[in-house]
């Protein structure tokens, strides 16, 4: 704590009085079922009145053992598994896994498939960030931004579903390309599959709506004095702490690190797209919020450019029907909405991977909790936890 807020200092002095009076601390169990723990996170907090002295997060209530499950599943089956890790951006989870396998097999998806991957990844990003835009104000007590954000998110999900067949779990990527669902009547599987007609125009329209709702959110949330009072200067993560704990994605960028894997890694055709990397200055809750809001706008910009440029051509490179991946090791990471998502795949030449290490963003983002929640007030605990934007499936895997 470099700068001590006078109000916090006031509370600290109160606490000193309490210690003299020997009032015992109270252990407060926050979760595993609690409105602001986004599922099944449990925090064992030692509180002194409203002040949280120490927090011990307890995770694992949703541990599904994906790393072990992946060892008994073929690569195609694992794709259906990995989009369940961070379920609010299911599509984006598939990308690094599929590309890691492609690298091991030395194949590359056709350009049209790569563009579709990029468009849908950005849609997943918008949908994930819109969830944040809805749940974060809700945690601070404002219920209306939720429905406004969900309204537009629904359009995005419908577009994703229209292409892939799944709203949350697309299972759309294949090694060497993408595979639109064989939707509808007989003999369709023999037809060439592609984007459904009108998708590109609907995507354009949806982006206009998304940009409009961003303006609404600016009015409803960003400029709101109460919201600013609750978030500015709260939960400051300095740059070095962010790096040490492995914070990534918007959380890292809010601390002033302008690092984005979309620009650093060249796994999707972002090179030809013009977009900015929004960064924060102070690393507080407000910055984490505002970076995500700006990222929605940038993602909309990316999609607007991508739908204009998408080339025609096949969606699938030639790949054996039964995938046997040559022995080797590869780690591929991508900029997930939550941060760096990566898969470290060790293949021994079989139909199933020998080991898959899943690097999920929320796990590292959440590991900073004991440090950042020390000596905060209970309402700030909620504000800080919400601002980290984690999904328990992404934490527990």
């Amino acid at each position: 704590m470099t700068q001590l807020d006078p109000r916090v200092a006031m509370h600290l002095s109160d606490a000193a009085v309490s210690v003299e009076l020997e009032t015992p601390d109270m252990t407060l169990n926050i979760g595993p079922q609690h409105p602001s723990t986004h599922g099944v996170l449990r925090l064992v907090a030692r509180v002194d009145g409203e002040r949280v002295e120490a927090v011990e997060p307890v995770i694992g209530y949703m541990h599904r053992g994906y790393e072990k499950l992946a060892e008994v599943r073929t690569y195609a089956q694992t794709i259906a598994l990995v989009n369940r890790i961070d379920w609010v951006s299911g599509f984006a989870n598939e990308i690094p896994f599929v590309i890691a396998v492609e690298k091991l097999m030395d194949v590359e998806a056709p350009e049209r498939a790569q563009y579709i991957r990029m468009i849908l990844t950005e849609m997943a990003r918008i949908s994930s960030h819109l969830i944040f835009m809805s749940s974060y104000p809700l945690e601070l007590g404002a219920a209306t931004p939720l429905m406004h954000a969900f309204r537009e998110r629904e359009r995005i999900l419908e577009l994703i579903e229209g292409v892939t067949g799944g709203r949350f779990h697309p299972n759309f990527n294949r090694v060497g390309g993408v595979k639109p669902a064989a939707g509808g009547g007989s003999a369709t599987k023999k037809l060439i599959q592609d984007l459904p007609a009108g998708f590109l125009q609907q995507a354009r329209d949806a982006m206009d709506k998304v940009l409009t709702v961003c303006d609404d959110l600016d009015d409803l949330v960003t400029g709101n004095e109460v919201f600013q009072a609750r978030t500015i200067g709260v939960g400051v993560v300095p740059r070095d702490k962010a790096l040490e704990y492995g914070l990534s994605g918007p959380n890292l960028r809010a601390s002033g690190v302008g690092f984005d894997l979309r620009k650093a890694e060249h796994i999707l055709p972002y090179d030809g797209i013009d977009f900015e990397i929004p960064t924060g200055e102070n690393g507080d809750c407000f910055d984490r919020y505002i970076v995500r809001l700006a990222e929605i706008r940038q993602a909309a910009r990316i999609i607007q450019q991508a739908v204009d440029r998408i080339p025609s051509g096949p969606l699938q490179a030639k790949v054996p029907r039964v995938l046997k991946v040559p022995p080797g090791q590869a780690y591929v990471r991508a900029e997930n909405p939550k941060g760096e998502m990566g898969y470290y795949i060790v293949s021994e030449g079989g139909r199933v991977p020998y080991r898959v290490k899943i690097r999920s963003a929320s796990f590292s983002n959440l590991s900073i909790l004991p440090w950042i929640l020390e000596n905060q007030l209970i309402p700030d605990l909620v504000a800080i936890m919400g601002s980290l934007d984690f999904v328990l499936g992404d934490v527990d895997r």
């Binding site: 109000r7 006031m10 509370h11 109270m26 407060l28 609690h34 409105p35 602001s36 009145g49 409203e50 104000p137 809700l138 945690e139 601070l140 007590g141 404002a142 219920a143 209306t144 939720l146 429905m147 406004h148 309204r151 409803l220 949330v221 709101n224 109460v226 919201f227 009072a229 609750r230 007030l377 209970i378 309402p379 700030d380 605990l381 909620v382 919400g386």
Partner: protein
């Protein structure tokens, strides 16, 4: 008339006004925010527009098991919701619905009002303490701190009105507003805009803000603070007792809105019409003003986030209380000068 008979009639009439009014406010709370969020809101109950949803909710709660936690102090726990409801319903004793439609026109009306409305604070604290739940305890303590802090500006805001009207009786205050004369000699129908809304605008804003805090509504709903304390002092309540709290919350909103309407918006009074007509129209006029204020409360609630406990205290002690003191000073000076 027999005293007891009269008493029974008055109690029945007050309950007959307050509880339906609370149900109407609950319905507004369901339907208006739904539309603010692009939703439809309740639709089925009652056949059309879901008008019976509050009743249906109440019926549902009645069927639920009334749980008392093992760790609870059961007698206090069971009593608490009724204390809350009593505090809010008691307010209506002195609210005038028409020139003669008042249960009891006390000379010390405002004094009684502020005293009885603090009773619900006690109920909340009882609920928070007796539940035997840490969240409830924190919620109860927050409620106590918050209600103490906001009782002061509430009282001080009313003092301005009392000085202006030179009476503590609510009927007297309405009369004073009705007969207010701008520039010494204007006819009373000029008072289309309630005069105290203009003269005591500072007092009104402070009163409304403090009312929101008294009611524990967003942006001041820390005692409940769903995302922090699950449901605060309400966490352990279920069934009928929860219904009492629920009803108490909205009855409280109706009662504070009625007080605010009486003090600042002229209560039952309408320009141009005489007392006989007002005795008939008065309740409707008052109810309209109450619903208008309730709408504003609801509108605020569904737009704003919640403050933090220390920010709320800062706001009360550093802004609202000095402002209301300044308001009293200014009102007094004006009263002396003119």
């Amino acid at each position: 008339m027999n005293f007891w008979l009269l008493l029974v009639i008055k109690v029945v009439v007050i309950l007959g006004v307050v509880l339906p009014a609370a149900l109407v406010v609950i319905y507004i709370e369901l339907k208006v925010p739904a539309r603010m969020q692009s939703r439809i809101g309740p639709y089925f109950a009652g056949g059309k527009y879901g008008w019976a949803q509050p009743l249906a909710d109440g019926l549902k709660f009645l069927q639920k098991e009334d749980l008392v936690p093992d760790a609870a102090d059961s007698s206090v726990y069971k009593l608490a919701p009724y204390v809350v409801l009593m505090g809010t319903v008691g307010t209506f004793v002195i609210i005038p619905f028409g020139p003669d439609l008042v249960a009891r026109d006390l000379d010390l009306g405002i004094f009684y009002l502020l005293a009885i409305s603090s009773l619900s604070t006690l109920g909340v604290l009882m609920a928070g303490w007796s539940s035997g739940n840490k969240y409830s305890l924190i919620g109860g303590l927050r409620a106590a701190a918050q209600l103490i802090a906001y009782e002061l500006p509430l009282v001080l805001a009313v003092v301005g009105v009392a000085i202006q009207a030179q009476t503590l009786s609510l009927n007297g205050i309405v009369d004073a507003q009705a007969s207010w004369e701008w520039f010494g000699s204007s006819p009373e129908w000029l008072n289309i805009v309630p005069p105290y809304l203009i003269l005591q605008i500072v007092g009104f804003v402070i009163f409304a803000t403090a009312s929101l805090a008294e009611l524990s509504r967003i942006p001041f709903d820390m005692p409940i603070a769903e995302s922090e304390l699950t449901m605060g002092y309400l966490t352990e309540y279920s069934g009928l007792r929860f219904t009492m709290f629920f009803l108490g919350e909205y009855a409280g909103m109706v009662s504070l809105a009625a007080v605010a309407s009486t003090l600042f918006l002229g209560g039952y009074w309408l320009p141009w019409v005489g007392d006989d007509v007002l005795n008939v129209l008065g309740p409707g006029v008052l109810l309209t003003k109450v619903l208008l204020l309730s709408f504003i409360f609801i509108w605020l609630r569904w737009t704003f986030p919640r403050l933090r406990e220390d920010q709320l205290q800062t706001m009360a002690w550093k802004w609202l209380i000095p402002a209301s003191l300044a308001n009293i000073l200014a009102t007094g000076l004006l009263k002396v000068v003119f």
